[in-house]
């Protein structure tokens, strides 16, 4: 009999037939093991594909509904700044200039551009419905910036109403009956005419980034929410990082191993998993009711988010410090450094990439939170920019939530648009964390 070449086969004085049988069984078992390994790998690939498919669906649905929010329909009007309407007294009194009826001027300008009868009240009302409700503010700002233009005709881009915008973007079916469409046939004809003449165009939506909350979708923006989120992130950065790092350094380098430090460790790990709304309740009780801080202020939001982020930062920092090999400390101590010097000159700098990664991940988590803000009054309609962390403001995810619950069609695309902006911010932060880790991470 030939010498068997199959690895793992049993040499022995068995008869040829029996040995063949054994070898076949071994061959089979090996094939089985390879197949099992392939299947095992496939499960992993399938899991990743499954996740990616959902991610693709999510991105597709957000991007396909959201991209239109970055442009907004506007009319180009030649507005005649009628002195008898704006400044009848001729005093250029700022209060009079503020309260003048600029809507009327805009309507007249649009009616002229569309060839509508300015004397017909019904026509004028229908013309007015094509314009945003905030059109007066846009013209007023032009006049206040340049009072010498009163009495002249100036070209201004003003926002069209939400309905017009929906029609132009195809979010409202133009073939529906007028009563259902809420845009009359006359208005539709005007819109087509204006679009053909280039008077009505879709322009880049700067208002989305600079405006505050508004009940009109066309003038609503995330400006106030962005500033509120920025104030909160600054508060978190200023408080959570020093507190978290100090706590982690003590626990990792100094604390004796006893019942109390075990208790602290268990509690920190528990806190990291507490539902975030609980931190909101705590914030309401301590910062608002006890410390007397104002409601809806971003400082309170920042403090609440600090409490929420602290455990994440402490855990990440402890892990990073724990990963610095003892030889570094021993070498420092060996050449005569004090323990504090060993930590502040060697251990913490070496652990820095890990600490920063943990901090950025904690911040990114805090940036996307709404639940803890509900209790402290930050889920709110805020129109004006906050001037300090003490003034009322809202946050980016809150703005998204508020828009998602609004009835007007124009808010649907804005919800998705603001989500895109939030996602972009989060991707940037997480990418930064990865780059930091790649660049500075040291392995021993």
């Amino acid at each position: 009999m030939a010498v068997d070449t199959i690895p793992g086969s049993l040499p022995g004085p068995a008869s040829g037939n029996a040995r063949d049988k054994t070898n076949a069984a071994i061959q089979k078992s090996i094939r089985g093991r390879y197949a099992a390994e392939r299947r095992f790998k496939m499960y992993g690939v399938a899991a990743i594909l499954f996740g990616l498919a959902f991610l693709a669906v999510l991105f597709w649905s957000i991007i396909s509904t959201g991209y239109t929010s970055f442009v907004q329909s506007s009319f180009k009007l030649d507005v005649f700044l009628d002195r008898s309407v704006i400044d009848p007294s001729g005093q250029k009194d700022p209060n009079a200039l503020r309260s003048a009826d600029y809507t009327l001027l805009a309507r007249k300008a649009l009616a002229t551009a569309l060839g509508a009868d300015t004397a017909n009240r019904r026509d004028m009302r229908e013309v007015g419905q094509l314009l945003s409700r905030d059109v007066d503010v846009e013209i007023r700002n032009e006049v206040l910036a340049n009072p010498s233009s009163i009495g002249k005709t100036i070209p201004v881009w003003v926002l069209a109403s939400g309905r017009v915008d929906n029609l132009l973007k195809g979010q409202l079916d133009r073939d529906l009956p007028a009563a259902v469409r809420k845009v009359s046939d006359q208005q539709l004809a005007w819109i087509d005419k204006a679009e053909a003449a280039g008077v009505l165009q879709k322009r880049f939506n700067t208002g989305l980034f600079t405006n505050g909350a508004s009940s009109n979708p066309e003038t609503a923006g995330i400006g106030v929410a962005l500033v509120g989120s920025l104030f909160m992130m600054m508060t978190v950065l200023l408080l959570a990082v020093p507190l978290g790092v100090a706590a982690a350094v003590y626990l990792e380098e100094f604390a004796p191993k006893n019942f109390w430090t075990d208790l602290i460790e268990v509690n920190i790990n528990n806190l990291a998993a507490v539902p975030s709304i609980v931190f909101g309740l705590l914030g309401l009780a301590i910062f608002i009711n006890f410390a007397g801080l104002p409601r809806s202020a971003s400082i309170v939001g920042g403090l609440v988010l600090t409490l929420m982020t602290l455990p994440t930062i402490i855990i990440a920092t402890r892990a990073a410090i724990g990963a610095v090999p003892p030889s570094i400390r021993e070498a420092a101590l060996g050449v005569g450094a004090s323990k504090m010097q060993a930590i502040s000159h060697h251990v913490v700098p070496l652990a820095m990439p890990g600490i920063l990664t943990g901090t950025i991940i904690g911040l990114a988590k805090a940036l996307g939170e709404t639940a803890p803000l509900l209790m402290i009054g930050m889920v709110a309609f805020v129109v004006e920019y906050p001037t300090s962390p003490m003034s009322p403001s809202t946050a980016l995810p809150v703005q998204i939530y508020m828009w998602a619950t609004s009835a007007e069609r124009g808010f649907v695309e804005r919800t998705a648009g603001a989500t895109l902006i939030l996602l972009a911010l989060l991707i940037c932060m997480n990418l930064f964390a990865v780059i930091l880790r790649r660049k500075y991470e040291r392995r021993w």
């Binding site: 910062f287 007397g292 409601r295 990963a323 309609f381 129109v383 009835a407």
Partner: protein, 369 residues
């Protein structure tokens, strides 16, 4: 790759005596931090409003217009959260840390008034600024729907009368309930328990339907106690909704109900009139007892399912919080809540002229409840 949770090395056995320096500085940072934020609160110059998500869009419109019109006052802050949560905050007490106005899509309850009084909020001004219709709507591509409270009761109640006895709801399709309705499996998206709208739905639709089919008497007969207790038990049993999945509670907003209808075009949803008015291209409204809901039929009282919308103002805050009096008067003015105002354009059913005039007088005098 170790990542941030890499291998750990400890110096436990070589621990030198614990330095208290870092502990001390940690404590110092903590103390400094809390001191810095315990500074006395600055005087509030912005009105704070919280409450009903139904009233929220109206309050937003008025707040925005108020900020635009009054140069010397800031735009009020309007929080969302629901009628009950808003009134709870409202009744927490007086002072700058508490809200000035609570929006509510239902009337304030006796218990809430007592709670308010206990915490010092003794004088409350009620401003009932208009009405909201509650409509049943289906997908815009379906046929016209004409229903009656009785149909809704039979389709959605937990127990219905059959041959003079109460049985667990056996109906599977709308056609079984009423021959004129389509042969759709019953799937209704109704406001969840935390919504003020649910109460109106129960009171005006379920209870009405319950009476119409005579189920209230059967329920009352089954209950124990004297007549009053029996009636109460009957009323309570009337508004019990079936729990077998045919009636779905929506705890989110109307946008969620709309999403449900979009994904199940054979579903029926409950909406506010203003929400429907903003989504006429996606929804078709059902008539109730032959009446189509509109501003006209609701203000005349012909359409049966509507409710008043109101907000409550702390009288003690008027004159303390800048602009509060002006804001309330501005809200109650014809320019806002009149038939041609922006709120009516959004979908508010304006109060009759006489009611509005009286409201404006009461608001001017800050008449409390």
């Amino acid at each position: 790759m170790y990542g941030i949770y890499g291998p750990r090395y400890h110096l436990q056995d070589q621990e030198i005596s614990v330095s208290n320096k870092i502990l001390a500085s940690t404590a110092a940072v903590a103390v400094l931090g809390s001191l810095a934020f315990a500074a006395p609160a600055v005087a509030r110059d912005q009105i704070q409003i919280a409450g009903s998500s139904t009233v929220l869009p109206y309050a937003n419109i008025v707040a925005e217009q108020f900020g635009k019109t009054f140069n010397n006052f800031k735009t009020p802050i309007v929080e969302s959260g629901g009628s009950s949560a808003g009134l709870k905050q409202f009744c927490q007490g007086l002072g700058e840390g508490t809200i000035d106005i609570a929006n509510a899509s239902r009337k304030i309850k006796e218990g809430e008034i007592a709670e308010c009084a206990k915490n010092g909020v003794k004088e409350i001004v009620e401003v009932q600024f208009g009405y909201d219709g509650i409509v049943f709507a289906v997908d815009s591509k379906s046929d016209d729907w004409a229903i009656e409270p009785k149909d809704i009761y039979l389709a959605l109640a937990a127990e219905v009368p059959k041959d003079g006895a109460l049985v667990a709801n056996p109906y599977k399709t709308w056609k079984e309930v009423n021959d004129k309705l389509p042969d759709w499996p019953i799937a209704a998206y109704i406001p969840g328990e935390k919504h003020g709208t649910r109460e109106v739905f129960e009171e005006k639709v379920m209870h009405g339907g319950c009476k119409a089919v005579g189920a209230d008497k059967l329920f009352a007969a089954k209950a124990e106690g004297d007549d009053a207790a029996k009636k109460k038990a009957g009323d309570k049993a009337c508004v019990q909704v079936r729990k077998d999945g045919a009636a779905v509670d929506i705890d989110g907003d109307y946008t969620e109900t709309l999403a449900r209808i979009t994904s199940n075009p054979k579903g029926v949803g409950v909406f506010g009139l203003s929400f429907f008015e903003n989504n006429t291209d996606k929804l078709k409204v059902a008539t109730i007892s032959g009446i189509a809901p509109s501003v006209e039929t609701i203000s005349s009282g012909e359409y049966p399912v509507s409710r008043p919308l109101q907000f409550y103002v702390k009288k003690a805050h008027i004159g303390v919080i800048p602009g509060l009096k002006e804001f309330v008067e501005f809200f109650a003015s014809d320019r806002m809540i009149g038939a041609d105002g922006p709120l009516a354009e959004y979908g508010l059913v304006p109060s009759p002229d006489a009611e509005r005039t009286k409201l404006q007088e009461d608001v001017k005098a800050a008449k409390s409840m």
